[in-house]
């Protein structure tokens, strides 16, 4: 199993969610986060003074999937969240040791 963590633009959440549902990837955890990438945010100017705002609002999706579905999910996120402009975000993929479904006590792939 894999954990797919995607940091995306907040306004892309709806389309990404809907596209994931279409490929039958339902389980997801969403958090509002703040972060910075290479450009270190943006500059804002108030009353003649400039302020570096280096943490921008982003949305983080955490999705655990079976190994065979991982590429599909990654592709879907990539296609729907991409605008081609800076700040589109990142996808991090890591292995998951085990999963437990609390209601039934199932473990592993069945529990995902």
């Amino acid at each position: 199993m894999k954990e797919i963590t995607a940091i995306i633009r907040p306004d892309k959440l709806e389309v990404v969610k809907n596209a994931l549902q279409e490929i039958k990837c339902n389980g997801v955890t969403v958090t509002e986060v703040k972060g910075r990438g290479r450009q270190l945010g943006v500059t804002e100017s108030y009353r003649g003074r400039d302020y570096k705002v280096d943490l921008l609002p982003k949305t983080r999706l955490e999705i655990i999937v079976n190994d065979k579905d991982a590429d599909d999910v990654i592709d879907t996120i990539l296609k729907t969240a991409q605008t081609g402009d800076i700040g589109d975000g990142k996808i991090f993929i890591s292995p998951v040791e085990d999963v437990v479904r609390i209601r039934t006590g199932e473990r592993g792939e069945k529990a995902v």
């Binding site: 804002e44 100017s45 108030y46 009353r47 003649g48 003074r49 400039d50 302020y51 705002v53």
Partner: protein, 408 residues
């Protein structure tokens, strides 16, 4: 028309004006300031204006009006008769505006007092103890505002001298700007002095309400519904618009981009600067006053403030102190006798007017600055002026009020 009989047109306009000016504080100033602070301080900031209005309202009817606008005693203070408005009937006319009832005259003067003290809060938001503010408001109104408003508007010595201040360039704006400067220097800087508005939309609504209410403030200061009020109305709008445009031009020159905060700041500077002049100057005068004022306030904000390092959180001194100062001087320059026979400025052949204006300005600076310092000292030694560092970091909404502005 009998100039000493009740005039229903005048009375209707003064009732309207008073309600308009009320709107400037609650919620005008409250929203204008509230949007500019960090979100953890939004309620505290709104509350400072709200409570300033209520405290002033109560002390005003009990004794403050009677001292500010009662029969003059030696040019210094009102006689304080009719405490609690006892002995005043609904048909008693205002001695200083004999076509309207004294009750609406008093209410009109009240909303001026309230906004003056509420404006000071912008300099100290984010770090002043709310309890200290509750004590500061009535003390400052009594010791600073009441005498100054008497001297300029209540028939006191500055009025007799000939100083011109139609709607409060010195009484309201220079007065609160100086007090704000002294209080914020006494309090010291916040740890985080960045001006990062948490909701600039609030500030736009607040500034728009200020602009709207200011028609009552300035045109209402004619104390009658007629040509002078109309002239002041047009001058007010003209200077405000000019102030917004000139600030935007400065923004474009300095940073390449026009900003919304700059635009509303320029508009407020225009409103402040035209306040003392609106009932004396021509439309051309208003254009010049409004256009120039943004330059002075911008300079105070971006050069003076960093240079001297005081933490005037929301630039009350730069906006109200400096534009108020410019407006008071400009009144002495541009007052045109064919607009208002009471005012003849330097450009119309009366250089002495500048002397009266300078005396007015100097008096307000010394009186407001001196007494605000004394008040700050006394409150600091008794209640304490400043919140704990922890409270400042966490934000005052939670730590002082156990509330938060947003649950999203």
């Amino acid at each position: 028309m009998d100039p000493t009989a009740l005039n229903s047109g005048d009375t209707a306009w003064m009732l309207t004006s008073t309600a308009l000016v009320m709107l400037m504080t609650v919620p005008g100033v409250a929203l204008y300031y509230g949007g500019l602070v960090k979100k953890e301080n939004v309620l505290n900031t709104l509350f400072m204006s709200l409570i300033a209005f209520s405290i002033t309202s109560v002390i005003w009817v009990i004794y403050a009006y009677q001292l500010a606008f009662g029969t003059d005693v030696g040019g210094l203070i009102g006689n304080g008769a009719n405490l609690f408005f006892s002995g005043i009937s609904s048909t008693t006319l205002a001695p200083l505006a004999p076509t309207i009832p004294i009750t609406i005259y008093a209410a009109f003067e009240l909303v001026f007092a309230a906004i003056t003290v509420a404006l000071i809060s912008g300099a100290v938001v984010g770090r002043m103890k709310f309890k200290a503010w509750l004590a500061f408001v009535p003390l400052w109104i009594t010791i600073v505002y009441v005498p100054i408003s008497h001297w300029v508007w209540g028939g006191g010595w500055l009025a007799k001298l000939g100083a011109l201040d139609f709607a409060g360039g010195t009484v309201v704006h220079l007065d609160c700007g100086i007090a704000a400067l002294v209080l914020c220097i006494y309090l010291g800087s916040r740890k985080d002095i960045r001006l990062l508005p948490h909701n600039l939309g609030y500030s736009v609504i607040g500034a728009a309400l200020l602009w709207f209410g200011w028609f009552g403030f300035n045109a209402g200061s004619a104390l009658a519904a007629g040509g002078l009020a109309s002239s002041a109305f047009l001058a007010t709008n003209t200077a405000t618009a000019a102030g917004m445009i000139s600030w935007m031009i400065i923004d474009i020159i300095k940073t390449g981009k026009p900003t919304v905060l700059g635009a509303i700041t320029g508009a407020v500077c225009g409103l402040v600067a035209i306040t003392p002049a609106c009932g004396y100057v021509t439309v051309t005068g208003a254009l010049i006053i409004g256009f120039a004022t943004s330059f002075f306030s911008y300079y105070a904000m971006t050069w003076l403030k960093p240079r001297f390092g005081y933490d005037d959180s929301l630039d009350v001194f730069a906006v109200h102190g400096i534009s108020g100062l410019w407006g008071a001087l400009a009144t002495g320059l541009f007052a045109a006798p064919f607009i208002n026979s009471l005012g003849v400025g330097l450009f119309y052949g009366n250089p002495m007017q500048m002397v009266w204006q300078l005396i007015d300005i100097g008096t307000v600076v010394v009186w407001s600055g001196g007494w605000t310092l004394v008040l700050a000292y006394v409150l600091d030694k008794t209640i304490g002026l400043r919140v704990e560092q922890e409270e400042e970091n966490e934000g005052l909404d939670i730590t002082l009020h156990e509330e938060s502005g947003y649950r999203i």
